[in-house]
Amino acid sequence: MLEIKNLHAEVEGNKILRGIDLTIKAGEVHAIMGPNGSGKSTLSYVLAGKDDYEITEGEILFFGEDVLEMEPEERAAVGMFLAMQYPIEIPGVANMTFLKTALNAQRQTRGEPELKTPDFMKRVKELSAKLNVTQEMLRRPLNVGFSGGEKKRNEILQMALLEPKFCVLDETDSGLDIDALRIVSEGVNALRSEERSMLIITHYQRLLDYIVPDVVHVMYQGRIVKSGDKDLALELEEKGYADYTGGAAA
């Protein structure tokens, strides 16, 4: 589904990604862990198409198509989704209006008919109930005045509604209490399927107790330095990143 080959990216001359190679097959859930500053969030933004980053080398293929040639909205329409670490507040745009506009914009780009308002409302209601997203949150301006947990639940609601093929979850667990973590994880697990892949970026092994990955990668200084199964996350939790950072405390 997704192939990242020798990806190099920099910001204002600072090299952040220094040759990422990663292949994710349909239905797989991969986790990336790594110390602060290793380039995890940069990778997520580069995948989504944020233009603050200069790609100096390498390629990203999604079902064989060159992702780096696509605008962010085109990537979304072909089925890529980034659940943001810091979902942004947009005053003046009602959450519900935003969800409907986004869904129908994607459908339009794909040449599918627009979802009619009653059908849309029905779907949003079903999904928001599961994620404990209240009617009030749907009426309010997008993310404005939402707590950290509410913002993350709203990200997962978008993911569930838009039904992407590939999801990146960038530190979705940060700022969540135990109950919120459980709700968010259940929401994510409900979306796991043979056709859908995920890349989960996290600092903590705890999230991976809830969303159990098929593969765990360790990222350090812009490269993937080790890959393994879910036990690798447990090992990191116990020992830290010292083995990969040359002994320096992470």
């Binding site: 989504a48 198409g49 944020k50 233009d51 605008e71 962010p72 909205e73 990537r75 979304a76 329409a77 980034l82 943001m84 979902p87 942004i88 947009i90 005053p91 003046g92 745009v93 935003f98 506009t101 986004a102 869904l103 914009a105 994607q106 780009t109 301006p141 978008q158 838009l162």
Partner: protein, 434 residues
């Protein structure tokens, strides 16, 4: 001896128009007032960049040199234009219509207003010698008002009696057809403890025309008046608007201006507090493109203690458009415990657009809370990225953010139906489905 400064072709044309029009304008008793105004114009000429209040809006430069009074139009032509001009539609309101500066009883909802308010055409009041200029001190000598007096044709005088609460908004719709100049002055008096909602709409065709309109609001003790003004003039229009408001004690005044149309627009609001414990909220949303020019000038006079004024204006400019905000809060020495908050925010969508932001405070009392702020910026890249990352194309994402920026000003309007209609109007302007 009068020093004559009238010298440019457009000033000469305007002087000739003023002279030629005098005999036909209504009201013999008003003739000397007009003559003084004409004389004043002759001694001052058109305001230009050398006049501080008009520094960013040079009327001398934009006034055309071919000037004539707007003519009469057929009922057919009126209904044709009413169907196509961009305005708020589907609103439940009682409408008063002025076409080319003349009040049209035949097009107005007089039956619906019968018994609710007292209504007098300004031309009738002028003929009967019953129209008296009631100029605010802070508005005295204003150049646009001087021209308004010199050419005053018509308008409507609406009196809402003490204690009357109007349920439906009253819309004063001004329509321009076929080019030319029109000059009107409306007056709305809201009696003690009365409540009203006024909608002012300015629309016109694509001909070159000039509108000089004024409106006076008199808000009695305990009264509440909401005003929403929609300036949706034709692409070649020149619009001069002057609003004056006098607030009594414990009164409330809400004033919103939506400005989108016209080639050159200057809106001035003069607000004076004359009774304690009153508040005025003045809001505005402007969206312009091409080489449009739009100026919002404010003067708020806190003459008595314990009053609040809040001003919040938002301006969006694209292409080579120019926006101006000049706001002055004036707090006189007796006006202790005044709370005045003024904010002007501009969004520039193009490198060639320009905004002149001039907030001012002039405070003579020592126990007041006053603040002003001014910002000027571009669309936030992070907000755009978020919308695009969810599949919303760049162009649409930009429009959504522009609508959102302006909606924050629009949402201060206290009538939900009007808010919805205004947001729909902006969405239409942007070409955004809603």
């Amino acid at each position: 001896m009068t020093l004559t400064v009238v010298k440019t072709p457009s000033e000469e044309a305007l002087a000739a128009l003023l002279d030629g029009a005098q005999a036909a304008l209504p009201g013999k008793d008003f003739a000397s007032v007009r003559a003084d105004a004409v004389e004043k114009f002759r001694s001052e000429g058109l305001p230009n960049r050398r006049v501080e209040e008009w520094k960013y809006s040079d009327l001398k430069r934009v006034m055309p040199k071919d000037l004539s009074l707007a003519g009469e139009v057929s009922a057919d032509e009126i209904s044709k234009q009413m169907a196509v001009v961009p305005r708020l539609r589907g609103l439940d309101c009682d409408r008063l219509v002025l076409v080319n500066g003349v009040f049209r009883a035949d097009l107005s909802d007089l039956d619906a207003l019968q018994g609710k308010v007292s209504l007098t055409p300004v031309s009738k009041a002028l003929e009967e010698g019953a129209f008296v200029l009631d100029e605010l001190e802070i508005a005295k000598g204003d150049r646009a008002l001087t021209l308004n007096t010199a050419l005053l044709q018509d308008g409507v005088i609406i009196d809402v009696a003490d204690g009357v609460e109007l349920e439906r908004p009253i819309e004063i719709l001004s329509l321009m057809i076929g080019g030319g100049m029109a000059t009107t002055r409306n007056r709305v008096s809201v009696g003690k403890n009365a409540k009203a909602f006024i909608l002012e709409t300015f629309v016109g065709d694509e001909q070159a025309y000039q509108v000089n309109e004024a409106i006076d609001f008199r808000i009695a003790d305990g009264a509440s008046l909401s005003v929403s003004r929609l300036l949706s003039e034709g692409v070649n229009a020149l619009h001069l608007g002057s609003t004056t408001a006098i607030l009594g004690e414990k009164s409330h005044f809400e004033h919103f201006t939506m400005s989108t149309g016209g080639q050159f627009t200057r809106n001035t609001a003069f607000v004076k507090f004359t009774g304690e414990y009153s508040d005025a909220e003045l809001f505005g949303a402007t969206i312009i493109g091409r080489n449009q020019h739009s100026d919002q000038t404010l003067l708020v006079d806190h003459a008595v203690p314990n009053c609040n004024s809040k001003e919040q204006y938002r301006t969006v400019m694209d292409d080579k458009a120019q926006g101006v905000f000049q706001g002055k809060i004036f707090v006189r020495q007796p006006a202790q415990k005044t709370d005045g908050q003024m904010m002007s925010q501009a969004l520039l969508l193009s490198e060639d657009a320009a905004f002149f932001n001039k907030p001012e405070l002039e405070i003579f009392a020592d126990d007041v809370q006053c603040a002003h702020g001014a910002t000027c910026g571009e669309l936030d890249e992070d907000l755009l990225f978020y919308l695009r990352a969810r599949g919303i194309p760049l162009d649409k994402a930009k429009k959504m953010l522009v609508l959102a920026f302006l909606a924050e000003a629009v949402e201060h309007v206290s009538n939900d139906a009007v808010v919805e209609a205004l947001e729909g109007f902006i969405a239409d302007w942007l070409g955004l489905d809603h």
